[in-house]
Structure formats: C-alpha cells, structure tokens
Symmetry: C2
Subunit: 408 residues, 2 copies
Amino acid sequence: MMHVDGNRLWDSLMRMAEIGATKGGGNCRLALSNQDKMGRDLFISWASEIGCSIDFDDVGNLIARYPGLNNTLPPIAMGSHLDTQPNGGRFDGVYGVLAGLEVMRTLHDHSFKAERPIEVIAWTNEEGSRFPPAMMGSGVFIGELDLDHTLATTDANGVSVESELERHGYKGKPSLRNHPIAAYIEAHIEQGPILENQDKTIGVVTGVQGIRWYNIEVHGVATHAGPTPMEMRSDALELASHLVLDILAIAKIDGDARATIGEFNISPGSRNVVPDKVSLTVDLRHPNSETLLTMHNQLHELIEQACVKKNGWSAKISDIWYSPPVNFDRNLVDSIRNGANDHNYSYMEIVSGAGHDAVYLSKVSPTSMIFIPCAGGVSHNEAESASKDDVIAGANVLLHAIHKFLTE
Amino acid sequence: MMHVDGNRLWDSLMRMAEIGATKGGGNCRLALSNQDKMGRDLFISWASEIGCSIDFDDVGNLIARYPGLNNTLPPIAMGSHLDTQPNGGRFDGVYGVLAGLEVMRTLHDHSFKAERPIEVIAWTNEEGSRFPPAMMGSGVFIGELDLDHTLATTDANGVSVESELERHGYKGKPSLRNHPIAAYIEAHIEQGPILENQDKTIGVVTGVQGIRWYNIEVHGVATHAGPTPMEMRSDALELASHLVLDILAIAKIDGDARATIGEFNISPGSRNVVPDKVSLTVDLRHPNSETLLTMHNQLHELIEQACVKKNGWSAKISDIWYSPPVNFDRNLVDSIRNGANDHNYSYMEIVSGAGHDAVYLSKVSPTSMIFIPCAGGVSHNEAESASKDDVIAGANVLLHAIHKFLTE
C-alpha cells in the first residue's frame, strides 16, 4: 500500500500559507488578486517539477495534468481552490489542491504510469468573496453559470473578472471548459464540528445537503411604548420571536436537518416604538429531498398560521432558492470508505452542509469528497486549523481511491 | 355653569392646521422654524384680541397673560406646544394651547375677572424632532435642562437654538424663566387607544408612568448554516427570541405595566451564518415605582438566567435611564374629575404613558392633565384625529377646573 510523503505535503501547505499571510495566522488570497496569482504560480512550479502540463480554460480554472499512457482517455481529477476568504484560513480549499498534488507526487515517486491522465484542478473563485457568486469557476465549467455574465461580473471597485483573467494570462482555452472527466474526488476540511466531536479522522462524504432559502416578512402595528396596553398591541417582534423558535424547531425532524435564521431586521427600530415590521431569512437544509419538502411545507404552514394568531399581525413568505440534495457516486464513496478502513483510520459517513466545487462536478462526472476534521469546526476564519496527522490521513485516503480507480 | 364656544375653538384649531399643512392632512411646524413662528404669530394675534400681554422667557417659551386684579399673584397656567413632528397631526400640543386660549376667551366673554392672572404658555420645542431633547422649553424653564447647553444645541444643518431664537425675536426675559406658577393644567390628546377603547370622553390623568431603559447584548457562536448540527449550535438569535418573549411577559404583572423592545440588531447578519450577537433595547414602564422596580429586578434575573441556559450563550444588561413615576396634584385631579362629572361626560382615570411638558411643570407647581381620545390611538402621524365633541368636552373640563381654582 502506497503512502503519501506527509512531511512534504505539510511543508507545501505551510509554504502556500506564506502567500497572503495575515497577522492572525490566516490567509488572504482573494480570487484573481495578485496574492491568488502568487499562490497559483507556486502550485504551478511544483506541478511542473513532476512533469505536469499546465493549462487554463476560459474562466481561468487552472488544470495541472500528469500525463498517462493514453492521453485521449478522460482524466481522473482531483482539486479544490487556492483562493480564500478575506480573513480565511490555511486549509479551506488549498488542502484539496495540495493533497491532489501530493497524490501525483507520490505516484511520480513510484514511477507509476496509468493509462489515463491525472489532473489537479484549482477552480477559479470558489469563495465568491470578491466576485459573486461562490463556486464560480466550477459553475461555469459545467455550464450551470453563464460565461459572458461571469466575465462581466465586477468586484466592489468595478474591476471585472475578465480584466483580471486577462491581466494574469488566465483566459485560456474554451475547449478545456467542461472537458470530459472520468471521476472527480475533492479532499476538504469539514468546516463543521462533527468529525472532531465524534473523534473520527476521515469523513466519507456521501452527498451534499439540499438547501431551500426563503424571505419572510412579519407585519404588526407600530405604537408608542407608553400609552398602548400590552393586550392591545400587535408587536411584529413578538410574532417574529415566536416564529424564530417555531422555525428552528422544524429542524427537530431528525439529526440531519438544519434551520438557520441569518438575517433579521426590524422597523422602525426606535427604542420607544413597538415594531411594525420584521424581515428575516430562513435557510433550511436536509440531505433527503422528501424530508426537505416536508420541512418546506411545515414552514409554509407556520407562516399561514401566524397570520391568524392576533388582530393586526400578518406574515408572508417568498421561496427564493432551491438547491436539491446531491448524492455522490456510490463506487467512489465505497472506495473512500475502503481506503479509510485499509489505513485503519477511524471514519464515518457524513453529508456536506456547505457548498463545494464537487457539487457542480457531480452533475457531469462521478464525484465524491473526503473530509478531515478542523478544530472546533471553525472555518472562514484565521483560526481555522487542521492537524498534520489528519491532513496526511486524508491524502492517503485520496491516494488510495485514485490508485484504485486507475488500476481497476 | 360656563361653557366654551365649541365652534370658535374648533375653527381656531382648523385655522392653525392651515399653517405648515401637509398633503396627507397633517402638520409640519418644526420647532423654531418659519412655520412654527407663523403658528405662534396667529396665536399671539388671538390672545392679543382679548387683552393678553405677550412675553417670552430666554428659551423662547411664549407666555400669553390675561391680567388679574392683582398681578403680583402667581398666575394659574395652561398650555402645551405649537411645534409638531415632521409628519405630525393637527391636535398633538396645539390642542392644549388653543383649549387654554378658549378658556381665556370664554372668561373674557363673561367679563370674568379673577384676582390672579391667567397664562397660556406655548412651550418651545416639545417634540424634539429638530433639536433634541423633547420637552426642551419646559425642561429649561424649571432648570432641569441647562440653558447654555440648550442654546448651543444645533439641528441637522448646524443651526443653533440660540440663532433661531434671535432670528424670531424669541430670546426674551431671563426673569420669566421659572416664574412662580400657582397651578398648571395641560389638555392633550391621549396618544394612546385606551379612552377610545373604553368609550370614555375624558381621561382624568392621575400621573405619568415611570420609565426604565436598558441595553442588552446577547452572545452566541457564529457557525455555518449547513455543517453544524442543531444541538451543537449556540444561536444568539434563538436566545434573544426566548428573551423577547420572556421580557414582554414581565409586563403581565398588571394592566398598567408596559414592556417594549424597540431596537433589535443581529450580527453578522448573513443568510447562511448562525448569528453570534444580538443587541436589543428594553423600555419598561409602570406608574408605580415599586412595581417598576420589581419589573426591573425580573429583567435582571432573566438576563442572569440566560447566561447559563446553554454552553456558548451569554447575555449582559446595562441600565441606561430611569425616569421616576409622576403623581399629579390630588386637588387638581379631583377638580378635573368633578368637571367631567358635572358636565355628564363619561370619564376614567388614566396614567400618561408618554412624556409631556406637564411632567416637568409638576416638579415646580401643582399640575395635572386632561386627556381626550384620539382615533385609533394614533399620534405623531398625519392621520392623527380627534372628534369635535371630544375637543369641546376637554375644553369645558379645563374651563371648569380653572374657574374653580380661581374662585375658591
């Protein structure tokens, strides 16, 4: 059984973390910034050392290709992203790219030659912090996001994606966009607390939660804080507070369900005026589309009931987005589970709660993901941290799955 | 029993409402604006017609004095204010001034001469919309607000109170500030829904609620909307929602208690992030200081308990303001009750929930107030409305109380 070179992988992660390093120990490499380019250049230099060719598609997705014996065959691909949040950490994204590189390096060490080529892809702008939306590169790659619209997207200073791609020389070959991929495996930190909490090293990711987004408006009647007796009030904040607790309770349907109210704005927002309006958002998630639909129906019922609770109260709901659950490829998932097992790493099946480039890739190719724990579940934060042992374990499982795919 | 001239009073109110009239049927006469001056000029012309002298103190409080037989005696005073909110109504404040004028006119009609003089005072800037704080003129009059600080106060355009007083010729006699007043009675719309709801014409105002203001901060832990299981979250909005309902329940202590949460801001305020902080304000009111203290203690206990509900949750409270309850003069309150009774107006005792110039006056003089209903309890709004019958009734009760005081 092959093993990755753990020190080499860790050293590469730490070298990469020097680029765009923040005072708090994190990283700032906003998509298509100079720091992002410096990170990509470092990756390119490492990939080139082992004989990879380097190419870009026309949205700047960076493709390092380790050649096979028959390069007309679709490659097996690994990857993630090198861009970070403004106060991002040292592992989110970069781990998937450098674990992929380490797999290629290890195969190169062993002079292993497969029939098909192997790719590591650093997707453009996964974070979406500088240019919305998130997962831009992979979304354009599979055709879910429009290329022209994406190229015209600008950052807060009016700089467009296209002008940055051209400045860095990243506006590559249209033909590489959505080129056939035999399978895609992405290693990533969990960005949640479950693995750490369950004391598991490897998360065998079986799929991605479905997500439904809503906007809700709650209306009451504004009155003075003094004169109006409590029983004559129609306090929008009172109704909204009941709704918050009822909406959070929807997620009690089972342990996989999530409900989040992330935005909550009241009006008029004056200390001595009873609020007449609350605008809030709801984010419901579940890996099973039928259960998510049940939650959706419960939410709509709550809003309907809210309208009749008290004279002067009303509430309305708008459905604004639905991303169906994703089930990853059963064979790849099995292969990852076997890899963890063969290496004697503790593992558990897990469903990703966050979006990843792998979600888009799963629409065009067999796909799966490998999670490793991150301390406290903290991510998108300078304090983001993963242990060297876990980093190595995830790369070994990735190597195992890639090797199995190439030798079957 | 004397009666006011109801048509004259109503016509005067409607004439005054033409000055600074808004499209929506309300009034905009911001304190010390040209519209405010035009309103004061109209009032001055009416008061002068019946032989009143006109004077100002050095914060621009406008004093129309109907002479008595012995003008060294302290006057009995009525009044309120002629300034309005930016989208104010036709009754808030102006009613107390013109009802006072109508009382003087009626006494003048009857050639009634009292020993002591009678004053109607239009207090400067009761609303505080243009220059903070509210009840500025009466606050300076009794020495609760500092004159120099008040004169230096500027509006949003940097124009000072002093420059506006000088421009209009309102910077009058320092000697008139806090001149002795034998009694003060202010007629006002209720600015609440109680009289209308109880189908009463006259509110015999026994006092003003005590008010306590607080700032509360609720802390949790920010996590992604997806990965973190519900039972591992410390959602600041969840804790804050429990607190809102618990805080509103404090006001169930009795029918006079009020609890209002008027400001409520969450952080980071992102759709897919569990909130880690909520800042909210609390306004507690009660006419009895001991009950208000009990409510205060219950609020502090709630916040203490909140800290221990769940790991990762904490809450802290700051007491920021306390205005003790005011009890109006028992003899004046009795006199108002008798007036309503003698006129066969339906009436009830009521406690003012809003601040009025009478609150300050009560600290230096026997004081009381007369409330009349306003439609739907709506005030500080163009839709503010009072019926002609109620307007006349309130003025008759005011006349009754003034006449009684002067003839005893």
